[in-house]
């Protein structure tokens, strides 16, 4: 294993205390079905989100989203001159995305060194955002999107997409529409929209054994899907069903995002007093 010389090192090996839980106390399944109990959200409900723009003073635009306990912060820098001359595109701008998970964001401590997983996440974010941005308006420049996941309580990638497009809008980057993200988990026949971490990692698989996860990015104004990532076993029909569920989830959150943007614009340029 490569040694990181740029960070303070701990012991060579350490283990999460969760590995040593007494065998009897298996974690109780969080949800086979959410409908149990009052006030619990239904299978097709998304978590209420809290969103704010313009929290990072140094960035051109920034946004913060909290959905349940999932917390994501994003800042946008640019448009500015491309760093590497040889990669300069003359006709359109370049979008760069960087997704990082803070080491304390998951149950098990993560490493700082960016793994392949984070690179995949960055790639998905980049590809979901790109169709929404009018890159032809920014020739020979680059726009950087930096996302930091502070706490992962499920569906963080979907919220990262929403957060990133909020930050892009806050930075004044021209876009066709805000790209919304939503995730779903299918276990057997049930679809759980916007799953929590416990629901994503349910240790009691459904009897049918079909487990799958889906993350979808949507531009609501045009009703176009800009990103779709699915993993696990699922047939064509259920994929479409899950995708539709995600799209509905996006539409539910769309007004909240619009309100957030309106609020931040009003704050930046208060309407003239008449």
């Amino acid at each position: 294993m490569p040694v990181d010389h740029r960070r303070i090192r701990g012991p060579d090996e350490s283990f999460s205390p969760r590995l040593f839980l007494p065998s009897g106390s298996a974690k109780c399944a969080a949800a086979e079905d959410r409908r149990s109990g009052d006030g619990a959200r239904g299978n097709m409900d998304v978590r209420a989100i809290f969103a704010r723009c313009g929290l990072v003073s140094q960035a051109k635009g920034s946004a913060y989203i909290e959905a349940g306990n999932t917390k994501v912060i994003c800042s946008v820098y640019g448009p500015r001159e491309t760093e590497r001359r040889d990669e300069t595109e003359m006709k359109r701008g370049k979008l760069l995305a960087d997704v990082r998970l803070a080491p304390f964001s998951c149950r098990k401590r993560g490493q700082w060194i960016q793994g392949t997983e984070e690179k995949d996440l960055s790639q998905f974010l980049l590809e979901s955002l790109r169709p929404g941005v009018l890159l032809q308006k920014y020739p020979r420049s680059q726009i950087e999107v930096c996302v930091m996941v502070l706490e992962n309580d499920g569906a963080f990638l979907a919220h990262a997409v929403t957060c990133a497009s909020l930050a892009l809008a806050d930075a004044g980057i021209e876009m066709y529409d805000v790209v919304m993200g939503c995730a779903a988990r299918r276990s057997g026949d049930a679809v759980l929209l916007d799953p929590t971490f416990a629901e994503e990692h349910d240790e009691h698989p459904s009897p049918s054994g079909k487990e799958s996860r889906l993350t979808l990015a949507l531009m609501p104004a045009m009703n176009q899907v800009s990103g779709l990532q699915a993993e696990g076993e699922m047939d064509a029909e259920s994929l479409v069903e899950a995708a539709r569920a995600c799209m509905e989830g996006c539409y539910k959150l769309y007004p909240v995002v619009q309100q957030t943007l309106l609020k931040s614009v009003r704050k930046k340029a208060p309407p003239p007093e008449s």
């Binding site: 960070r7 701990g10 012991p11 304390f104």
Partner: protein, 277 residues
């Protein structure tokens, strides 16, 4: 007009304020920015704290893991602090491995932990020579507007005070540890180090709690870390203009006053958290 002057001649712009004993953001020379604290907001971490000093925002999350102690210190655990300055927090940082500033900050925090004995590593021992706790203290800057070190120390201290260690027993038959997540004990924090940072302008004017712009225009920076007994845990001046003894004395007395302020803030936030539960 003022905006143009500020961009074209930033140093002159700042000087014109300093001449009148005030600063562009309206502060006096010896005034800290408003400091706010939020403790325990990250549930996936065993302890966490978010600190804001003006615009500068820093979050510290502590994860605990089990490991075997070193041969040299069989009764000692580990504290592993790291400061991260991701590209998110300012355009001056690139993504990728930490740069010099982040590494120097990590080393500074590690020195403060060691010098102040905020945590006694013996407290982290579970069984001598076999098992101990590792505290991974990851400090992430979310918004960089100067005075990173002060914010990091406050975040670290508050997060340590928020940290709960689950109970661990060693099963005598299998010699394997058994963790009980239900029973938790708070981590013992022995000392309360608090830092105060200063910047020197034009080799003579001393200002406290510099912003990012003030930091880059100043001719020298200094951080003084005090504990509650008025002892210094760390004096960090990585170069820059020379300081006389009297100036240093001045900084120390300001650092003592700042210590009381921050201690009060942390206690107040912890108290309000207790009231809630």
């Amino acid at each position: 007009m003022a905006a143009g002057f500020k961009t074209a001649e930033p140093l002159e712009y700042h000087r014109s304020f300093l001449k009148e004993n005030c600063r562009p953001d309206g502060r006096e020379l010896g005034e800290f920015r408003a400091t706010t604290l939020n403790i325990g907001s990250i549930l996936t971490a065993e302890g966490s704290a978010l600190v804001k000093i003006g615009n500068t925002t820093v979050i510290c999350g502590i994860k605990t893991e089990l490991a075997s102690p070193t041969v040299d210190g069989p009764t000692k655990g580990y504290v592993v602090p790291n400061v991260e300055l991701p590209s998110l927090c300012s355009s001056r940082f690139r993504s990728g491995p930490p740069g010099e500033q982040a590494q120097a900050a990590s080393q500074f925090i590690a020195d403060v932990i060691e010098s102040s004995e905020v945590i006694q590593t013996e407290d982290l021992c579970v069984e001598k020579g076999k098992l101990c706790w590792v505290l991974y203290c990851d400090i992430v800057c979310l918004d960089y507007d100067g005075n990173l070190l002060d914010a990091c120390i406050i975040a670290l201290l508050a997060a340590l005070k928020n940290t709960q260690l689950p109970e661990v027993m060693i099963n005598s038959e299998t010699e394997q540890p058994v963790v009980d997540l239900e029973k938790k004990r708070p981590l013992k924090v022995h000392r309360h180090p608090v830092g105060s940072s200063f910047a020197v302008f034009d080799k003579t004017i001393l200002i406290v709690d510099p912003t990012a712009e003030e930091e880059s225009l100043s001719t020298g920076l200094m951080t003084v870390v005090m504990d509650e007994e008025g002892r210094m845990c760390c004096l960090h001046k990585p170069g820059g203009t020379a300081l006389s003894g009297e100036k240093l004395q001045d900084c120390v007395s300001r650092a003592v006053a700042r210590h009381t302020e921050v201690r009060k803030l942390i206690d107040k936030v912890l108290e309000s958290m207790k009231m809630d539960t």
